[in-house]
Symmetry: C3
Subunit: 675 residues, 3 copies
């Protein structure tokens, strides 16, 4: 329960560092991250190292009681390295190199760059192994940012062939698993399989999926290279800072080599550039708590352990389309919200607005002239708030299953421009969170025995093993909700012999007779239980974009039927009891009301206690006996808590963009808003 900051002493005169350290300490900051992007300063000439400035910085911070997290500086190879080895550059699909002049211009599969990485990481690890103040490391920075997970250079072409050789028995096995008879796409050797470069028509989906797996695995390998060297030198922690709503990198796989999972949270940017729908003014001011929260729960779930926010938005930022000022107190709110979701530390990025280079329009806790900015005041407040709070594990009753392979497969063949895998999953996540429930976003192979309910928005690629895992969960009393497009494909991105939901068909007691997709502005609807529910769409529940016509087995109950046009009267949502539990199959992309209806039923059957339905922008989180109330709106919220409940932070009245922490369960609170 603490805060920190990202610091670039190399951008400022050495005589300022003492002041900076003192101001950090005064604010209550505990952790300081440094040396990200610093290769050209650490090794200004090839083979000639200068660590002295960093030594001094570490020492000054340590003198003020601050703990240091260092970064391997590999996200920015210096120009001299690129000039010596231009083959380390990434390439676009058409072969255009991604050149020096920004960051992340290296290929994960470059043998030369891996060698250079070993060299600089070893030097640093060796140098700081005995420095007590250095408590951990961040590997590189935001692997894959700027669309760099996927590279198409010659080194990747060779590595991909090797990856395929390691994955398949032989080339006939690949031809069989992918299905290459279609369009004469058979290969006679692994060497013959190229990266998916420009072609007249779309690529083979199995080829694409494997290339995306390979590209993600390349990052996993590259991260492991860092982690192994660092662990060889000390027992500091090894972390990486992942990104929000990020598709191309399998966080679960990278995290296997990490001690600590962290991510970089920029709420007012994300709500503009990676979410469907025009942001409201409140969202421009503070973001969407479910969008941010789903990332918290993903990264917490990755290692089933507390996580950090390694970079927390400190004020206005440079990269979204528009850059409004965050709401009054928003920087404090975000830290509370993260902590409620299980963060043990929240580090603001950055200490001080930088005068040079690409991020001059990115605020820091201090302004460029050194004076305190809005974020500094918020950070100081939340550091004080959290100093009173000691909280352990988040205990979530519900798991939301997510597999990056499914994301990649759906993205390669969305079958409607609007079908975004993650946005679809967020629909269910949002409904759960609107009922005050904690959610673990976890890989489908996770042990599910401790969960009362499981929501699987789209378990797209399926085989018997995955089906067995869910079958056991339901058999022993678990309540499962399986969403649209589940089981539609086999693990190689082919259609299975049987109709969707394929391997899950017996469990769900249903077959998908037909699927169809529509523009988002076409109104579709379903009726629940044969009746017609009140809803913005008239007398039925609104659904959109995706519609399946279900063919339930005789014993399977129909929960909702289509009420639109051609599909009128056809089952849309079903429920099948197996063992001590049951499986709901939802063949549509539900609107918010239908999602609430389905999720409420699921939670009720699973015996999970919920709040009343919370309005958008107001959320609660339970962590180890404490409940965080987060108000992402500009309107006040009142909290009616049990008489004996103590407010650890705040009180019964939250201002706009305010937070409170109370010793009570969410379901025991009554939240009042103007809505």
């Amino acid at each position: 329960m603490t805060v920190g900051v990202c610091y670039f002493p190399e951008h400022w005169p050495r005589e300022r560092w003492e002041t900076d350290a003192a101001q950090m300490a005064e604010a209550g900051i505990e952790y300081v991250r440094m040396a990200e992007f610093s290769w050209a300063v650490l090794e200004p000439e090839p083979g000639s190292y200068d660590f002295e400035w960093l030594d001094d910085a570490v020492e000054i911070l340590a003198d003020h009681g601050l703990k240091v997290v260092l970064c391997t500086p590999t996200a920015t190879p210096p120009k001299w390295l690129v000039d010596r080895h231009p083959e380390i550059l990434q390439a676009d699909p058409d072969g255009t190199p991604r050149r020096f002049g920004s960051r992340r211009h290296y290929c994960f599969n470059s043998p030369v760059y891996r060698q250079e990485t070993r060299r600089i990481v070893s030097k640093l690890a060796e140098h700081y192994a005995d420095v007590d103040a250095v408590v951990g490391w961040q590997t590189d920075n935001e692997f894959g940012c700027h669309h760099t997970v996927r590279c198409y250079c010659e080194d990747c072409a060779a590595a991909f062939s090797e990856w395929l050789r390691a994955t398949y028995d032989d080339i006939d096995d690949l031809n069989e698993k992918w299905g290459t008879t279609f369009w004469s796409q058979r290969y006679r050797s692994f060497e013959a399989v190229d990266p998916p470069r420009p072609t007249p028509a779309e690529h083979h989906p199995s080829h694409l999926l494997d290339y995306h797996r390979f590209a993600s695995d390349s990052v996993v390998d590259y991260n492991r290279l860092h982690a192994d060297i660092l662990r060889d030198h000390d027992d500091w922690f090894v972390a990486h800072n992942f990104m929000g709503d990020f598709e191309t990198l399998d966080t679960h796989a990278v995290a296997d080599d990490l001690d600590l999972v962290t991510w970089d949270s920029y709420p007012t940017g994300f709500v503009q550039d990676r979410r469907t729908g025009t942001p409201s003014m409140d969202e421009l001011r503070a973001g969407d708590p479910d969008q941010v929260g789903m990332n918290h729960d993903l990264y917490r779930g990755t290692n089933d352990a507390p996580f950090w926010v390694m970079e927390q938005q400190p004020g206005d930022v440079n990269w979204p389309p528009h850059c409004p000022q965050p709401g009054e107190g928003a920087m404090r709110l975000w830290a509370h919200h993260a902590t409620g979701h299980g963060a043990d530390a929240v580090l603001y990025f950055r200490w001080r607005r930088c005068r040079e280079g690409q991020e001059q329009y990115h605020a820091g806790l201090r302004k460029q002239d050194g004076s305190a900015d809005r974020g500094y005041r918020d950070a100081t407040d939340v550091a004080a708030d959290l100093s009173d709070v000691d909280s352990d594990h988040v205990d979530a009753p519900v798991a939301l299953l997510h597999d990056y392979d499914d994301w990649w497969a759906v993205s390669a063949q969305p079958h409607a421009p609007e079908f975004d895998y993650w946005e679809h999953a967020r629909t269910y996540y949002r409904a759960l969170r609107a009922r005050g429930v904690q959610v673990d976003v976890v890989h489908p192979e996770t042990d599910l025995s401790d969960y009362a309910a499981v929501v699987a928005p789209s378990l797209h690629l399926a085989d018997d093993e995955r089906a067995s895992h869910l079958r056991e969960f339901v058999a022993s009393g678990g309540e499962l909700l399986l969403g649209a497009r589940s089981g539609a494909k086999d693990p190689y991105n082919k259609l299975p012999d049987e109709l969707a939901p394929g391997a899950f068909a017996d469990l769900a007691g249903v077959r998908v007779d037909q699927h169809e997709s529509f523009p988002a502005d076409v109104d579709l609807s379903v009726a629940v239980d044969g009746g017609r529910a009140a809803d913005g769409n008239g007398d039925a529940y609104a659904v959109s974009v995706w519609s399946e016509w279900l063919d339930p087995a005789p014993e399977t109950e129909t929960l909702a039927t289509h009420t639109t046009d051609l599909a009128d009267g056809t089952p849309a949502v079903t429920r099948n009891v197996t063992g001590d539990g049951s499986t709901v199959y939802c063949g549509v992309w539900p609107g918010a009301d239908l999602a609430d209806e389905l999720v409420s039923g699921l939670l009720s059957r699973a015996g999970v206690e919920t709040t009343h339905r919370l309005p958008d922008g107001v959320r609660v989180n339970e962590r180890d006996g404490l409940t965080w109330v987060s108000n992402f709106t500009s309107d006040p919220v009142s909290v009616d808590a049990p008489a004996d409940a103590t407010f650890v932070v705040g009180d019964e009245t939250l201002d706009g963009f305010d937070a409170a922490v109370v010793e009570s369960a969410p379901a025991d609170l009554e939240l009042g808003t103007d809505d």
Copy 2:
């Protein structure tokens, strides 16, 4: 009057083929198309052929009384061929190769690929020359799909220079015909003329037009190479499957080397991706009958002979933006509609949903698990319907003139983003069809003596020869409607000396004083006969996008005048009598009501009988004494036929997406709808 199916036995276990054949026969299917895209299976190793599987498939089908159409497999050269000869790949204008990994990745002008094509086609022709069940061939597949008519590789650069050498007397002749003094674009040799690769500003329009002619001619040559070899071996028919609303390939020229013209019809896809305007729900379910019908009439007109639909949409498909399920019965409706337009066979694509590769989201008549899909039931129904129907030639009283050169010239200089040559032509086509009239879409050089009326929406490139042809038609009593931008250019895409309509000016008795273009949402209007007609736009007829100010000769009648703004009072539509006929010149892009007004007058003067004005989505077709009524809407349609008229298919009441065939002329029917 029959149906067929496209079949890929190589995608399924050999033990299934017998079942497939039996089910085809049971459905009433007569033709089976095979071996498209099968090169890698027919020649798995370079020089090592395996035709056995195909022999077996042909035999099994023949045993069930089915006739086979084979395809030359050249649309998909195998990877081993590409690896041996990477120079066969096409290139984008900027030189980026279009690589292996989908289809159509070869250049039509590659000498190596032409040699390889001769080899594989000869082998196949030789092998199947004695097999009775093989009744015909399809050359390659959808020439030019995925923007592949136009390639910019080095082989094309060399071939283009040779094409120019064959087209022009010498380089001075080219300089003169193109007009290369402008911007110092003179050439000193044919070798110096490059393909139109990236340039700072737009390309020379004469250069573009000739490159587009050359590219189309390259396909014509390449197709002839197939046809000649096939004809050397047997007297089976040679066909090709063209595409819908397809700009870049001159169908007329390719067809000269074909016995049978076919095309691939996907109504719910086309209405989304190659038509202006947001599709209605009915159109998402069944498409736009005029969009589909115009293609039918184009391909029927190409060889003045019955055509086939070689691929008919079988259900939902994978490639449009959205993929709704077709309306109930739509797959049957489309086959009827095609037959009414003159199709002798309609083959559904494909037999069974494919489990692998790029088209997994494309339905078949059977589902991936082998069970019957919606299309199978519709196909079975229509096969039964058509077994009772025997109908010969379509006899159209009206010709709509279309020349690909005009399309290419207008596309190179649309002068308004909204000016789409084909959409503009469709405005007139739609008006004719709404009056129940059969239309031949034919090349302007077609013998016109049998037509009562001719509509030429935009005969853009003109010379005296073309003008004479029309002059003779009108002189002998023909009624002509000449649309905007006609005669604006000479055949080399230069302005002629005289003002538009250039070579047609005497015939039309009019000169274009000015032309102008506007955004589609700017309301323009004209008044007919000096009066003001009731219309959605108030008291005048709506027109849009394109407006010419006409200067009629003294004897020329003004049919409509502009009523908008600066052009107010200026003639917009004129009529000039020459010989026994007359010529209407329409200098605007008419709205539907004005198009109806103009077309009705034309038909009336030409003595063509019409129906009352049919609502959108309901169309009639007369073929050899029978009238097809096609209902592309979800609402019922009643057919009031003469008492003695027999319904060969259906009866007086059509459901949504239903069809009927009645022994009566269209003009004798009264169709009732809710509209």
Copy 3:
């Protein structure tokens, strides 16, 4: 006060030239520009020149009393030159060459092309040095058109390194000035700095700014090469024809080597393709007088001398999205409007619609058949009008400061897609012009002592020298309005140590506490003087896109405060008195009403007389005692002038698209419209 025409005799038979010259003389034309784009005709074979045709054309024109302006033909190197030296081609950032086939396909830094330029320009200058009729030269044509100022070829890469070497003391100086510690972007030599080619993330803003300076300087050098050769041969004038609203080339710097600044004015094109907002029908017919006028005032201001319109739109043109016919009389109106703004000659482009090449859809004064087009009649009218008018210098009381470096810096980091530097400046320009005030658009280093008021919409890059210049202006009684984002950066595109407005902070008496940006459709507002002004936005003045929260010094007056949301109550506009003048700082992008309010206050304090607020589309210009009234609307305008005021052109009633010239000051006129 005269008109001219651009003429391409080489496009027409020699026997026509005599007629052309006679018709020009008859129209009252004085100047004829020729030989643009004629290299391939002047040197049809390498080293073999043919100037005879041009000699003849000059002679024929001279015989009719016409004066000739010739052009260096370098905008279109012939194909034979490109084939011999393909390295002269420009390259896109990704290396794709910009090839032959249009125009402007050469690199300004190509040593080979500079040599070829010297050769052809010397030949021409030598040849025409003794020809009296040739009074001046245009260098090349529209430098930078089609995005060609910025090239990324190898010649540019080398030249950029040399440019940097000449600009900075040494590479350490560059590293310090740019700030390359950020993201390890340090360089060890000038050679190591590449052009900004494709990178994973955005480029370093200092790198971008210097590349854009270098690219502009390359054109300056290339133009000087022409000018020096031409001046070596005769004392004819040397001019260049610049473009409208053109960002990438520093006109001020090019103009230092010119005797005469000219530009090419296409009002109905510009209003469509380089202005925010959908054009009204009147604007489609005649353009936006403030958009056109701001260019007039820029190019007049460049050399503080009369300018020419070297190309004036003659009718409909080919390149905008849509091509309506100009309003009746618009071609005359534009010439009057230009003359009122200080033009001494207006040359229509082109004499006759060209039958060949890329501009066939571009009208001329004569149609392609040689007959008079609408523009010929208007040109004849205005030539007659202006023959009575003799007017000297425009004397503007207000300067609007503009620096291309600021434009480039803001474009590289707009911080909101809607923040267009030029559009923002136009907001202030428009407000000044709506009050009938003449404006000089000048470089910030211009001597300001003769101006009563100065508006600096966004002096983004600032240092002490620039601040001193303004400080002196205000100290001696000048009234200054400093707009948003002023002083935010130092001249190297880094943040200065202090907060914005940086070097201007003392003068403005204010600090920018925060800045923020919003989508254009988010309603923002401010209240003036603590009150609430009537406005379309309710009770406050509308502002948009950009908002700064100001922190005024104690003695600084707050003129307006934010009334929106989070910023409510915070100062938005301030005023600070220093010496005998004062400085208004406006921290928002004002709507038209706020801009009028601020500008009116400024003019009032500065003692500048104004008109009542003129409606959009109606403007007045004072030039040497005469006032031009220009009506860019289709509605009539009445002019109530003092009794003794003589109308030199027109009278008290202007029709739509009409102009009048009256001997009276603007402030003494009362203009009546329907508004």
